[in-house]
């Protein structure tokens, strides 16, 4: 069988090394820009004959028609079908992108979001006419409050970094309200890169602190910089090394003692959902990525959603309108004098919220807890299986993702980038590379709970095979990928001399 696969692959044995390789070559179409296909008069719709009297608009309201390519329906369908075939997604293969939680997006979520009552509802409908939509918003907020152990939730923020901004605006508003605005915020080196940006937008200066030798933060490091000019700390838990911040409670106590607040970056919630409630750890505000933890489409698949959950003291500052429930009736409440105002038009990314709601209801409490258990088990299985093949900078149990480096491969001149490119030839999306920054040559793998043991074993086998290739045939790695539509891209020229217009 192995020989058969090898013989039928383009490029022969060199490109189809072994059975760990789940990818082969195929016929991929070139595709031009739609403008190149445009022909005068070509059209994809037949407009019905005019059966009413012509009534011209005021010329002041009109202008030249927009310039659009003229195409038949088949031109358009083939164009986007071909582009989609160039793509790699969770629906085509394992996507172990660390810190991104690229889990499978169940199709039932799509069915629920497409229900006419949701998909056809206008966001400006009178409350009486959209009670079901408001009920969904209210219930989802309640569920997320329960999962995080917090008092209140807003679903408005558009995605994770926007949620961070909303959370930091709540902290900023809290300090303003209590009479003493502060100037600084503590950010550990294992936090997400967007954290300092969110803090800066609120006018806070970032004070960076280093994690300890075992990759987690020490209470001493926080105590050394925490003072009454510091608004609080932004902490990612589990952190970007995939490690649980074990001193989180002590750290929260240190920050609270000086009047500061604790911002939790919930991007890594997939490791602790149902096991630990951030509210019990002393966190005051946390954002969630529905497009990570709650299985809504991620990346090019659709808009994100970054709700925040807060403790009672921060509830007055949440964006308006709030959905409130009184006697089985849901109302939109705008009268919140301390609110930060709107974070987004209408009610957030509503149809994404429906998908997350569908996920929570289909999984149930036990199912969501199992998600975290399996996500952590899968990551530790990969960590243990590849130990020895790849260098493990922090040798301790990990959470939902594990971090390796290219240290063992350096002698053969093979880098993290080369291995990441080569894994594409085996039919896997590359893991996250060169992040977190505190690890030199990092390879960060997050399998998520949705991959089967068989698929994970294939991935492990692929990586072991690449490690072998690095010793025997490093050139095949340095020029990889070989089976992708485009081979190694010139990243340097792309960054130095970008072509920003087609």
């Amino acid at each position: 069988m192995e020989e058969h696969i090898a013989n039928t692959c383009r490029g022969g044995v060199q490109k189809c090394h072994n059975t760990h390789q789940t990818a082969t070559s195929g016929l991929i179409f070139k595709e031009s820009f739609l403008w190149g296909k445009s022909r005068e008069g070509r059209c994809a719709v037949s407009i019905p004959a005019q059966d009413v009297e012509e009534s011209l608009l005021d010329p002041e309201l009109t202008a030249d028609a927009p310039e659009l390519p003229q195409l038949s329906e088949m031109d358009v369908v083939r164009h986007y079908t071909r582009l989609s075939q160039w793509n790699f997604g969770v629906d085509s293969g394992m996507y172990p992108l660390g810190s991104c939680t690229m889990k499978y997006n169940p199709k039932t979520n799509e069915v629920q979001a497409a229900r006419p009552g949701f998909s056809g509802a206008h966001p400006l409908l009178d409350e009486d006419l959209c009670q079901g939509a408001l009920e969904m918003i209210y219930n989802l907020e309640q569920y997320l409050a329960e999962i995080t152990g917090m008092e209140a939730v807003t679903l408005q923020p558009a995605a994770g970094a926007h949620g961070e901004l909303a959370g930091m605006l709540a902290i900023h508003a809290y300090h303003a309200k209590t009479g003493h605005q502060r100037s600084k915020i503590i950010i550990p080196d294992t936090a997400h890169g967007t954290n300092p940006a969110s803090a800066t937008l609120c006018g806070y200066e970032s004070i960076n602190i280093h994690s300890g030798e075992d990759g987690i933060l020490t209470p001493e490091a926080v105590a050394a910089v925490m003072d009454e000019e510091t608004a609080g700390i932004m902490i990612t838990n589990p952190n970007t090394l995939g490690l649980f911040e074990e001193s989180i409670k002590e750290i929260a106590d240190i920050v609270h003692a000086k009047g500061g607040l604790v911002y939790g970056d919930g991007a890594n919630m997939n490791a602790i959902m149902g096991i630990v409630k951030p509210g019990d750890l002393g966190i005051d505000v946390i954002h969630l990525n529905l497009h990570k933890t709650f299985s809504t489409p991620h990346g090019g698949g659709g808009p994100g959603s970054g709700p925040i959950a807060v403790v009672k003291a921060l509830e007055p500052f949440l964006p308006v309108p709030r959905v409130e429930k009184k006697d089985d009736r849901y109302t939109l409440v705008y009268d919140k004098p301390d609110s930060m105002g709107r974070m987004l038009t209408f009610h957030g990314h509503f149809s994404i919220l429906v998908r997350a709601y569908s996920y929570i209801l289909t999984m149930g409490a036990k199912g969501l807890t199992d998600v975290s258990k399996l996500a952590v088990l899968n990551a530790n299985y990969i960590k243990e299986s590849l130990r020895g093949d790849l260098h493990l900078p922090y040798d301790r149990p990990c959470m939902h993702e594990c971090v390796f480096t290219d240290k063992f491969q350096a002698d053969n001149g093979v880098s993290t980038l080369d291995m990441a490119k080569r894994i594409m030839d085996y039919g896997f999306h590359p893991p996250t590379v060169y992040f977190p920054l505190v690890v030199h040559g990092a390879i960060m793998i997050e399998p998520t709970e949705t991959e089967s043991k068989e698929t994970i074993d294939q991935f492990i086998g692929a990586f072991k095979s690449i490690v072998q290739e690095a010793k025997e045939n490093p050139e095949i790695l340095k020029s990889a990928p070989h089976l992708a539509k485009l081979s190694r891209l010139d990243e340097v020229s792309a960054a130095r001399k970008p072509v920003l217009r087609g």
Binding site: A410, Y434, L437, E491, V492, A495, R496
Partner: protein, 132 residues
Amino acid sequence: MKELNELNLPEDLKYSDDHEWARVDGDIVTIGIDDYAQDQLGEVVFVEVPEVGDTFSKGDQFGTVESVKAVSEIYTPVSGEVVEANEALADAPELINNSPYKDGWIVKIKADDLSELDNLKDKASYFQMLKG
């Protein structure tokens, strides 16, 4: 990646622990990143330099160097006012890789107090630090 003994570390410069170099000429200090830093970063694709007239205190971040791998902050080893920034880096960031000590200089600062440079390392002790 270069071996340590392949690094070009001129004798007449002072080096910071963060891999910046400094050259003193009167009260003007020219600052850049050294061969070790450019080699570790890889191909530099963008350099953010400060404005002439900006003032910095020792240890402040005054710019960033972005490579295909990462964005790194650069810190000034001396307090003072920026008198010149290397505008050529905007169109040719590769100067940092090709000529870190000459054409790839980043900024010239009129120093408030040259004695701040005393705790920088000379070539020998910097090289010792890299060896670890």
